[in-house]
């Protein structure tokens, strides 16, 4: 073979790069990739297997994502955004949005079209945008680990998410530079992962006790 394979897998139409799986959680997020026949959780730059789903904007105009955002949360409560998953795809006038607004120290506002948005240091952001910052960090961690660019992902959402919430999650992926191949229900993903090597058929119950919600 005269050709030098190079560090990256050659791309042609129908991207042959690796697809990452992302659990975009209310409190923490996780990214994994198929390593042969099993899934491998990717560690972030600090060696952590999960990354807090937090985004903060500092006085100096810096944007922090993940652990660093969490560490300074106490000193910057109005501009440290967390649990954004509870707002994504919702309208500002939703009962859930109103309830949520009372529980968090940061500002929730209405977008021009009535969607629930947030405000930090006078700037307005959509929950999709905030989530995209988290997704972008996970994407970069995956690329650092794999040594190649990643452009495709599968993202999980709670089973009770409606169309608007699912679409908003997909948008977040798009903003982060990811082609979201599928939005999968979290309990389905868990059931699939459990059943990957099982031969018998049957019925199982999936309990998802997460950082923000408890779903069945």
């Amino acid at each position: 073979m005269a050709a030098d394979p190079g560090p990256a897998i050659p791309k042609k139409e129908g991207n042959m790069g690796k697809v990452i799986g992302i659990d975009l959680g209310t409190t923490n997020s996780c990214v994994a990739v198929m390593d042969g026949t099993s899934a491998k959780v990717i560690e972030n730059a600090e060696g952590g297997r999960t990354t807090p789903s937090m985004v903060a904007f500092t006085e100096d105009g810096e944007r922090l994502v993940g652990q660093s955002a969490k560490r300074q949360a106490v000193t910057n409560p109005e501009n440290t955004l967390f649990a954004i998953k509870r707002l994504i795809g919702r309208r500002h006038t939703d009962k859930a949005s109103k309830h949520f607004a009372k529980l968090v120290p940061y500002k929730t506002v209405a977008a021009e079209n009535g969607d629930s948005w947030v405000e930090a240091h006078g700037e307005k952001y959509s929950p999709s945008q905030i989530s995209s910052f988290i997704l972008r960090k996970l994407k970069e961690d995956a690329e650092a680990f794999l040594g190649e660019t990643v452009t495709e992902a599968v993202i999980t959402v709670p089973a009770y998410f409606n169309d608007a919430q699912r679409q908003a999650t997909k948008d977040a992926g798009k903003i982060a530079g990811l082609d979201v191949l599928r939005i999968i229900n979290e309990p389905t993903a868990a059931a699939l992962a459990y059943g990957l090597d099982k031969k018998e058929s049957g019925t199982i119950v999936v309990y998802d006790l997460g950082g923000g919600t408890f779903d069945v």
């Binding site: 073979m1 190079g6 560090p7 897998i9 050659p10 042959m16 060696g47 000193t75 120290p105």
Partner: protein
């Protein structure tokens, strides 16, 4: 080959032979001219050959592509494995260290309560005090040898990369954003944070209380 003559079927499509290579005809016909068989690589010469050849070529191209990809994949895996191994060597003792450092912190707390003035102590106590100090020194040396260093950022500017803000302290004595209390020292393993320093951060006294 000069003895064999093929009376030329080069231009005609051989019925049973799909490879496009001419098989020598039986030497029933001879001719004064020796005609050598022609091999054809291109698919276009004979109508019937076009499909099999281009099909094979397409298959060959596919295999070639797959082979290149497999090579690239192996190369990637090799580099990734190398990186993982060197990371494991460098940071592998991190979780062990993190667990042990809790006790090291307690040892340091014990050292902090040791009296400076030992004149009032009896010999046994004095030896115990000196012994504990020496142990603490040794442990610090060993830790540093393995790349583990302590973060004690008292009076430094709050750094979200290495410190975890636990609470704010309203004060006008220092600039807001300065670390005024270290509840627990932090630890670094080479350039990676093992555990952040747990600190109290100064805040301007007139800043509104958060709801």
């Amino acid at each position: 080959m000069a003895d064999e003559t093929t009376n030329n079927d080069v231009k005609d499509t051989p019925e049973d032979d799909s490879s496009g290579v001419n098989t020598p005809a039986e030497a029933t016909e001879t001719s004064d001219d020796i005609v050598l068989p022609e091999f054809s690589d291109t698919a276009g010469d004979k109508a019937g050959d076009a499909d099999p050849i281009s099909a094979l070529e397409a298959e060959r191209d596919e295999f070639k592509d797959q082979a290149l990809r497999a090579l690239a994949e192996v190369e990637n895996m090799r580099r990734r494995t190398e990186r993982e191994i060197s990371q494991a060597r460098k940071y592998g003792h991190g979780s062990f260290a993190r667990d042990l450092l809790a006790s090291v912190d307690n040892l340091n707390r014990a050292v902090d309560v040791l009296p400076e003035d030992r004149s009032g102590l009896d010999e046994t106590m004095t030896n115990l005090v000196i012994g504990v100090e020496m142990i603490s020194q040794e442990i610090t040396t060993v830790l540093e040898r393995h790349g583990i260093t302590r973060i004690n950022p008292l009076n430094e500017k709050f750094d979200y990369e290495k410190h975890q803000a636990m609470f704010e302290v309203p004060t006008s004595e220092v600039e807001p954003g300065t670390v005024v209390q270290v509840a627990q020292a932090g630890w670094m393993l080479h350039d990676r944070l093992l555990s952040p320093a747990m600190v109290g951060v100064a805040r301007a006294e007139d800043k509104a209380e958060d709801a």
